[in-house]
């Protein structure tokens, strides 16, 4: 296990340090109706401004429960979970790092939930009644309006490749994406896209051709875009972007219509949860119509519940994009993502393709004038 921990440290080191710094690290809701003193402990990798409306809604409905939300990085969640010395033990674990969450459940650390809501939950969004996806967040392209005005709108990966190869000089250093070597999310997207599309390496090559800046977090990319440092960002987390773009009208979001990765936050109740009854109530809320409605109306995370089809739901996105949406499958394939050699192999190829694009662009630049 220590081997895995060291490996994870390198993977997750810079997944979201800035986000964590900006947000509070803990939220506390005392019991109002004289319930038990011990709070329900939720460990999550979800910024407090995003999750607070949800927790407030839940607390409003269940005033007898005291709640504590610990906002941690995905790595800290994983590491703390496997370290038995860290107390208090969490009752619910929420994280967007799908492979790590899957691995914990696969190793038997999650307990099954047999409630009505869990039974009705769509099969593609759960695993074994132990691991549940409760959000639906597409991975998007964000660009400044001036880019669309100059070069036309970008609505697909093919558009992006054309743009990057056709306007190399104008875009040099103005494109930003995740660094798969330092960001866990970026690495997950890279591995999934490499599986999804044979033209992915062409795109990496093109990204290398414009000296794309490699960033660690979605927030870094969004702020760079707002500053005007970047014209276009590729593979940003849609839920953060939607929130951010609302206050920055100069930015525009595009969900690619050829294929769009969808990442999901996964929740489970640990086998050794100190308050399993309260944890089940919370998970039932997250998966129930009330909680899902709160997710769609109060947050930008995207609700999954099949009965909901308003804005901010998976159904609404599906109606618009249809088959192009590619949720990352919750299955053993995720384990491959965590393989040490697999990671080295993918990053080696990624770097090679990226650098080959850079070199090719340099030689062309030298010969063309």
């Amino acid at each position: 296990m220590s081997l895995v921990a060291v490996l994870l440290a390198t993977v997750l080191l810079t997944l979201s340090p800035l986000e964590a710094a900006l947000a509070q690290s803990r939220l506390d809701y005392p019991a109002r109706a004289g319930g038990p003193g011990e709070p329900l402990v939720i460990n999550g990798a979800l910024d407090t401004p995003l999750i607070a409306p949800l927790l407030e809604d839940f607390h409003h409905r269940n005033p007898d429960l005291a709640l504590r939300y610990n906002n941690l990085t995905t790595l800290a969640i994983y590491r703390d979970f496997l370290d038995d010395d860290v107390t208090p033990r969490p009752d619910v674990v929420l994280s967007s790092a799908m492979p790590w969450q899957y691995r914990l459940a696969n190793d038997g650390h999650a307990q099954p939930l047999a409630s009505e809501a869990a039974r009705r939950w769509p099969a593609w969004a759960r695993w074994r009644h132990e691991l549940f996806a409760f959000t639906f967040e597409p991975v998007v392209i964000v660009y400044r309006r001036e880019l669309a005005e100059r070069f036309g709108a970008v609505t697909s990966h093919a558009d992006l490749v054309d743009l990057l190869t056709g306007h190399r000089r104008a875009l040099r250093g103005r494109v930003v994406t995740y660094d798969p070597a330092t960001s866990g999310a970026g690495y997950t997207y890279a591995i999934e896209e490499a599986r999804l599309s044979p033209r992915y390496w062409e795109l990496v090559n093109a990204l290398g051709g414009v000296d794309t800046v490699l960033a660690g977090t979605t927030r870094d990319m969004l702020e760079g875009l707002a500053d005007g440092r970047y014209l276009i960002g590729y593979n940003l987390l849609g839920s953060y972007a939607r929130d951010f773009v609302r206050e920055h009208p100069e930015l525009e979001i595009a969900v690619p219509d050829d294929y769009a990765l969808v990442t999901q936050r996964l929740a489970f109740i640990p086998r050794d949860a100190p308050h399993p009854m309260a944890a089940r109530r919370f998970l039932d809320y997250l998966l129930g119509e009330a909680g899902q409605r709160a997710i769609s109306e109060l947050t930008t995370l995207g609700a999954i519940h099949p009965a909901l089809d308003g804005p901010g739901t998976a159904n609404a996105l599906r109606q618009r994009l249809g088959d192009a949406l590619r949720p990352i499958r919750i299955g053993p394939g995720l384990l491959a993502t965590l393989d040490r050699l697999k990671r080295e192999a993918l990053l080696t190829r990624w770097t090679r393709e990226f650098q080959r694009g850079t070199i090719a662009a340099d030689t062309r630049d030298e010969t063309s004038p």
Partner: protein, 453 residues
């Protein structure tokens, strides 16, 4: 015999118990084969996944290298959403990569091996594929180990098992129905026999005749033999009763006639003579009645008294003493010839005394002058010999039948030897009638079966 003991129940028990045992065995066998079939089917997944992984292993940067295909792991999980584990080991058994440290399986060098193991409170099915990298410069052995939990296998096992279990249950039901029907059909003749016996007129002893299977036909023949014996016994009884009433009627008719004759005569002297005749005749009739009674008693097997140990010599001495006075009056010499030592025997003393009395009495009545009662040991034997007229050899057997008198003129009842015969039979003794010594008279001998005490 217990009230619950029944042939039907025995048959059902001994047919259904083995049938149930057989059913249980078949169920166990069905479970095993369902389990094996499920394992065989799902082991193909382990085989395919380990092959897909092994094909991606290569030698790079002086070490084993694996570009893990996610599809290989996906194929290990079926609809049952099994937990999935994999690992790659080099030829020294060192862990290269994987998500779990899976155990090695003992076994052959190059064959794919499967086994169930416990791992962190889970039962895993592990497949181990030994393989070898063959490149120009490098020959490297390695091992791919893959595993998954058993949910899918258990589901398949269960569905296969319930399928065959329901077929077995159906067959068992059919078998039970057939067994019940067969028992009923097989036992039907027994019911017929029972009905035939129950519906018989209790007075009839006619043989049963109804068609029956062989085993019951034997029972029917045995019953018929018993009935035939009973018929013979009843014929004997009826004849005996007829003879007895005839024997009693004759003296009674004589008494009545003598009394009537006397009443017609006026003088008392005639009355006196008639009364004397009547007295003698009624005494004879009374003795006849006593003998009839004892013969009836002797012939009733249900009233047989238990034998006790007695001394044959003492019995003979008592009988001789009792008869001595009567013989002396009649001028007959009665002699006892017995050893000094006791001869023990199991028997009924009063019956033996009765037999001796009858024999001595017979000898006296039929004109003997000298009667010898003889007792011999080894074999125990009672003998009464006289010097009277004797019985011709051809008539001796007839003499044993009741009311068969040796000489028409005697005043015997004709029951004496019949009574002796019954007593001898009751004691399991052989009764023989021979000539007396010097070729005249009669010698009656009861030879006992030896010391049975």
């Amino acid at each position: 015999m217990k009230a619950t003991d029944s042939l039907y129940r025995r048959l059902i028990t001994w047919l259904l118990l083995p049938l149930l045992g057989l059913g249980a065995l078949m169920l166990m066998q069905a479970y095993r084969s369902a389990h094996d079939a499920a394992d065989r089917a799902f082991d193909r997944l382990l085989e395919a996944a380990s092959l897909a992984i092994a094909e991606q292993v290569k030698w790079q940067d002086e070490q084993l290298w694996l570009d893990l295909p996610p599809a290989a792991l996906e194929m290990l999980a079926t609809d049952a959403e099994e937990r999935v584990f994999y690992a790659l080991y080099d030829n020294h058994g060192r862990f290269i990569t994987g998500n779990a440290d899976l155990p090695a399986l003992p076994g052959g060098d190059d064959s794919l091996r499967f086994a169930d193991t416990r791992w962190h409170d889970m039962t895993l099915r592990v497949g181990v594929r030994p393989a070898r990298l063959d490149s120009w410069s490098q020959r490297e052995r390695f091992e791919v180990r893959v595993a998954h939990t058993r949910e899918g296998r258990d589901q398949l096992t269960w569905s296969l098992f319930t399928g065959s279990a329901s077929r077995i249950a159906l067959m068992a039901l059919l078998a039970i129905a057939v067994v019940l029907l067969a028992i009923r059909i097989a036992l039907a003749p027994l019911t017929r026999l029972r009905r035939a016996i129950r519906h018989r007129d209790p007075r009839t002893l006619a043989p049963l005749d109804l068609p029956l299977p062989r085993e019951l036909a034997e029972l029917r023949e045995t019953l018929n033999e018993l009935l035939a014996r009973m018929r013979r016994v009843r014929a004997n009884q009826e004849r005996f009763i007829g003879d007895a009433s005839h024997q009693l009627r004759t003296p009674l008719a004589g008494l009545s006639a003598r009394a009537e004759l006397a009443l017609r005569q006026p003088e008392p002297a005639a009355w006196r003579s008639a009364l004397e005749t009547i007295q003698a005749s009624s005494a004879r009739t009374a003795r006849l009645a006593v003998q009839l009674l004892s013969l009836t008693r002797l012939n009733n097997p249900e009233a047989a008294p238990a034998p006790s140990t007695l001394d044959l010599v003492a019995v003979a001495r008592d009988a001789t003493r009792d008869a001595f006075a009567a013989c002396h009056r009649a001028g007959i010499a009665l002699e006892l010839d017995a050893p000094d030592t006791a001869i023990p025997l199991a028997g009924i003393d009063w019956q033996l005394e009765e037999a001796l009395n009858n024999l001595i009495d017979n000898a006296r009545r039929y004109g003997a002058r000298h009667v010898t009662v003889r007792v011999q040991a080894d074999p125990p034997r009672l003998q009464v010999e006289d010097d009277g007229p004797g019985i011709p050899a051809e008539r001796r057997l007839l003499m044993l039948r009741p009311f068969h008198r040796g000489a028409e003129t005697g005043d015997g009842s004709g029951l004496g030897l019949a009574i002796v015969d019954s007593i001898a039979r009751g004691h399991g003794a052989r009764l023989t009638l021979d000539d007396g010594r010097h070729g005249q008279g009669l010698c009656v001998t009861m030879t006992f079966q030896g010391d049975r005490a």
